[in-house]
Symmetry: C2
Subunit: 500 residues, 2 copies
Amino acid sequence: MTQHETWVALRAHWQELADLGGIGALLGWDQSTHLPGAAGSGRARQQALLAGVRHGRATDAGYGRLLDQAGALDLGPVEARMLAVARREFERATRLPAAFVRASSQHAGESYAAWVEARPANDWARMVPLLERTLDLSLEGASFFPEFAGPMDYFIDRSDEGMTAAQVDAVFAELRAALVPLVDAVAAAPAPRTDFLAREYPIPTQLRLGEEIGALYGYDFTRGRQDLTAHPFMTRLGARDVRITTRAQLADPTDALYSTLHEVGHALYEQGVASELLDTPLGGGVSAGVHESQSRLWENIVGRSRAFWAGQFGRFRDAFPEQLNDVTEEEMFRAVNVVRRSLIRTDADELTYNLHVITRYELERQLLGGSLAVSDLADAWHAAYEANLGLRAPSHVDGVLQDVHWFSGGIGGVFQGYTLGNVLSAQFYASASAANPGLDAEFARGEFGRLHGWLSEHVYAPGRTFTPNELVERATGQGMTAAPYLAYLRGKYADLYGLS
Amino acid sequence: MTQHETWVALRAHWQELADLGGIGALLGWDQSTHLPGAAGSGRARQQALLAGVRHGRATDAGYGRLLDQAGALDLGPVEARMLAVARREFERATRLPAAFVRASSQHAGESYAAWVEARPANDWARMVPLLERTLDLSLEGASFFPEFAGPMDYFIDRSDEGMTAAQVDAVFAELRAALVPLVDAVAAAPAPRTDFLAREYPIPTQLRLGEEIGALYGYDFTRGRQDLTAHPFMTRLGARDVRITTRAQLADPTDALYSTLHEVGHALYEQGVASELLDTPLGGGVSAGVHESQSRLWENIVGRSRAFWAGQFGRFRDAFPEQLNDVTEEEMFRAVNVVRRSLIRTDADELTYNLHVITRYELERQLLGGSLAVSDLADAWHAAYEANLGLRAPSHVDGVLQDVHWFSGGIGGVFQGYTLGNVLSAQFYASASAANPGLDAEFARGEFGRLHGWLSEHVYAPGRTFTPNELVERATGQGMTAAPYLAYLRGKYADLYGLS
């Protein structure tokens, strides 16, 4: 093969991997949105089959030889990074023995099926032996990568390349030290009125408003769409097919709105990757943390700001004149930022959410480190919630059994990205607003283009051209730091709750 | 391998082929129902990739050896038929050279893309060279199967196994001889009133009524669903996932209703295949003609009957009280059976529809036989329409360019199934009603279970266990015959139009 032919063959292989990934995403999207009730097991089999086909192509020996040959090519920096990312993924995928991958996948399926029954039955005892096996498999998986300092470093690196457990430990310790007293102070202050949010808001109108604002944010509906699901998500089905889903409650219009704006944030990132990177190893978001930074930035920092409501309250009052006839713009702004200690992570407000995540991260650290046994996890959960949030779950349903993550995948690296995203959201926003004075005034006019433009240039367009740490440094001038996030939270909640 | 292991491996391979087919069906379903506008070319690439993966598995040499080994197994009659069908499909798929398959597929894509532009522009000249190449490729494809008497026999056999061009010629000649004077007589009689069908009928209500009646027919929505598309279709995405689509017009409620009932008929067939046959070579409808017989039976013979409207008119009047306040049940029955000579096949009524199909079939015969050149096809189209329907299209848009079939696939065997379906629908129904006296009285009560039961037992459950000809003989006691269909049409339209 000539150099040119090698590169053409690599691009074609990457295109195929991207297309197989898109087909897999369609199988999942349809399962969550439209699949007939009786078709579940058939769909699971189709997904496993397609995943097997994709895994076969991703670990194909001929592909490996192509990657080796390409090492001798004279590449520009972007192409060199494409190759480096592809080699890293190939190496990761081929180092795990096939028997281990099969055993893990089969166990994950069995564990998930058991959890679906055990959770409503509050049957923690049933899950203990399954979770013990999950922990064993997680540790075994990490053992194939001895170059990392420990299992947690391996798992964090899988979703947030280049990040270490020590870095996360440090950031989370700083956050917890600041957040626990801040939540205490807020809890002691008078709560805003939220009664009007419990009125009835017809769901089709809720969905329409979310889509209108998503379009204002910059979500391109010719390359996407929104559907209803039980759990909202964003998924890329193709280079020009980035879909979101939302959920809605009749008696809480903020659920659909902020679910939509959260997923729009993820989608803006995926839709904003430079077109020349699409369907290559660089054609997507760079890490779990940076991805979540965009969902949280558009959901919280923008969507729960006073300036946002200055621009959008009229839209809501026009759509829901009776429901909002005794409500002011300021009351709406305060209501969507109400802080309440609660037991469920996915229902948590902006401020307490991180304490849920930090709790899980710390428990994962102890499980993987051997200082906590699975059989003691439920008690450790209660103790951690009492320490971090001052609450104790009345049952395991709202305690250790609440999240699907440990019961469907593995232990390690599955939660920290949520809070890293919060931290990075404020860091990116601080840089964006420093470079673009007056963003609030634009938001108040319902304009978001200048912010979208800055983020597109500095975060979205590069895709995976830089590592997450490089991207953060290039965009903000420094490595990841919690300072902007803590300043944002302190300023916002001091204002809202009249703290000194 | 032991005998048992060989059979287990074959079943697993068939399961995989079925699952890949289901994934391909999902890609197509989503393309027609939900795909964002900008994602079309990416989806086409995904479909081609998946088709290639499936073709690879369907023609895999290891699979061929398994089929050979299975020839020595001691099989029961159903398993022997599974193997025979699988061997036939394997042989068909492997006999076409890969280069020919690629060239055909690429040409089909180019031809379709050109047709999408040429049709609205009335640009027949642009399509002539493309259709000439289509004809060459069709003839070349047939040449790989010299065991057939001619190209048309090969193409008919692909969709209606065991049927010959001579058989179709004879049936169609009999039909045309009867239909042309029958249409003449109807055209000379006074037309029923149809003014009320042009009132405005809100589409969500139309769709609800169609789904209610589909459920009465026996369509199982836990194993299916209905969505809106430009062109209605039925598709099997999995053993328990058989979906339909419909279209709707505000000012014609019969379009959505009969599109739904047509696709429900196809779906009842697919949903009715015996569960032990699912995901095997026998797990689906046996031929294009038998499939269409079920869509037409439920759409026309049942759905346009006086008894049907005796049971359903109240449902419509309740749903559309203002639109139907001056309409009687009898007027509704007559309006949905109005006969009008028209230029467009897909808009044609039950009676004239076959003349559209026969026209195309005869033109295909002449093209494949060499007695008609593609460059003369447009003139031949006009001449045939004048002879068969007494009409001349004012442009090629409503003439030779109207159907996608020749411009996206090939020439030969693509139309006759529609009219074979009509013929068989009456033949099956005559046997069903002879075995079940009093079906009309049940229809008038909104009950369709006894008919559904008979069809399930005699047509649906066997799947592809018998050849189409065997199935027809077993179910009706004789080979395919046009007599019941002509008797049905003559009786119905003599009544409706007061013919002597």
